[in-house]
Amino acid sequence: MEARVVTIATELDIVRVRQAVRDVAVRGRFSLVEQTKLVTAASELARNALVHGGGGEVTVQVEPVGTGTRVRLVFVDHGPGIADLDQALTDGFTTGSGLGLGLGGARRLVDEFHIESAPGRGTTVTISSTSGGAVR
């Protein structure tokens, strides 16, 4: 399994995260739709880590699964954390000025979604998708 870490500290890093994810998705033979979904989800979570978490990093892991490839992304920030996860995942809820669709939307775009957070302990979001829709 190969892994790569991308730091998220500026707006420019969000572009870098998208490029890194698109790169592994293309190499993992993700279809155009699967690529776009994964990249968009990564973009949302990277922006969350930057805007709400004050920056962080994402680990990009790639592993073969059956005939396809699984890409797993782990977003870690050390920001204030989230007190009410259910509320944060509700569409339309936002603490900032966004649309409030980022977290819930990202969850709908990927196969697996896991979030861990507590006030004062930062936030870790893990998502993964598999090419070819082989394993769901």
Partner: protein, 288 residues
């Protein structure tokens, strides 16, 4: 690290370089760097060699053989810059150029050993000579790096300028082709120039084409919605075009609703729609 050599040594080395100018030039032309990539004529290469040799001699004489900012080296900056630029155009990296330059050293040191190798203080002189030639390398790499920085600054400027044109497609119909990453700053520029253009052209329909935007996440969608809303407040209808199938599917799952904003698959569809809105129809011309 500051290196000091006594003035006699400095003068000795400088004199030696000038004295054997002819011979060193011939050696250097054989090694390359000055006379590569064919197109350059030999006389020019010879003149370049002599200029660089004089520069090294000058730096050595002034006791600054270790300093790439010595007056002697500064005089040949432009020349070195040209030589490096020529190599860069042929796809060579600065480190390759530096490697190439290191081959200029051997013939000079050989020549020195042959002529002065049995003098008592020849080791100190050799070190000085070697230092001066290393500094030439440093000067060339510095030149190459600053040239790279210049190119980056120039390209950034160009990118800003080409970012967001507003195009008049027809009377009262405008289009903004958005390309690349839409961050907050660029969205703001796009919105401002579109709103101004709506006033200037009394536009009734404004088309935002996102064919060239690879990722539409919630932030980009929000910017698009805000722009559409602002356009509507000014009395122009906004149409978003260039939504590719994969983008459409992703937007649906993200939960983005464009509400009353009209969308079309291609810019052509959006133009057809806009023409209808302003009461025009396109007919096939009658052929005689």
């Amino acid at each position: 690290m500051a290196m000091t050599f006594d003035q006699n040594a400095n003068d000795d080395v400088a004199d030696f370089l000038l004295e054997h100018e002819e011979r060193i030039t011939e050696d250097w032309l054989r090694v390359g760097f000055f006379a590569q990539h064919g197109s350059q004529d030999v006389e020019q290469a010879r003149a370049d060699c002599r200029a660089v040799l004089a520069a090294i001699a000058d730096a050595a004489r002034s006791g600054r053989a270790h300093d790439p900012a010595a007056p002697g080296f500064l005089q040949v900056r432009a020349l070195l810059g040209d030589l490096v630029a020529m190599r860069t155009r042929h796809g060579e990296s600065p480190s390759q150029t530096a490697l190439e330059l290191s081959r200029l050293k051997q013939p000079v040191l050989d020549l020195w050993t042959r002529h002065r190798g049995n003098e008592a203080n020849h080791v100190a002189h050799t070190v000085l000579l070697s230092t001066a030639l290393d500094t030439l390398r440093l000067a060339v790499v510095e030149t190459a790096l600053s040239a790279g920085a210049d190119i980056i600054a120039y390209q950034q400027q160009q990118l800003m300028e080409l970012s967001t044109p507003v195009i008049k497609l027809w009377d009262n119909v405008l289009a903004v082709p958005l390309i690349g990453t839409l961050d907050s700053a660029r969205s703001q520029v796009a919105m401002e120039s579109l709103l101004q253009a709506i006033v200037d052209h009394q536009a009734a329909v404004a088309i935002l084409d996102i064919t060239g935007v690879p990722t539409i996440d919630t932030m980009v969608a929000q910017h698009l919605l805000k722009t559409a809303m602002a356009a509507r407040l000014m009395g122009a209808e906004c149409v978003i075009s260039g939504i590719r199938p994969q983008i459409a599917q992703t937007m649906v799952q993200l939960g983005i609703e464009l509400g009353e904003v009209n969308t079309r698959g291609t810019l052509a569809d959006a133009l057809a729609y806009a023409l209808r809105r302003i009461g025009l129809s396109v007919n096939r011309a009658e052929t005689a």
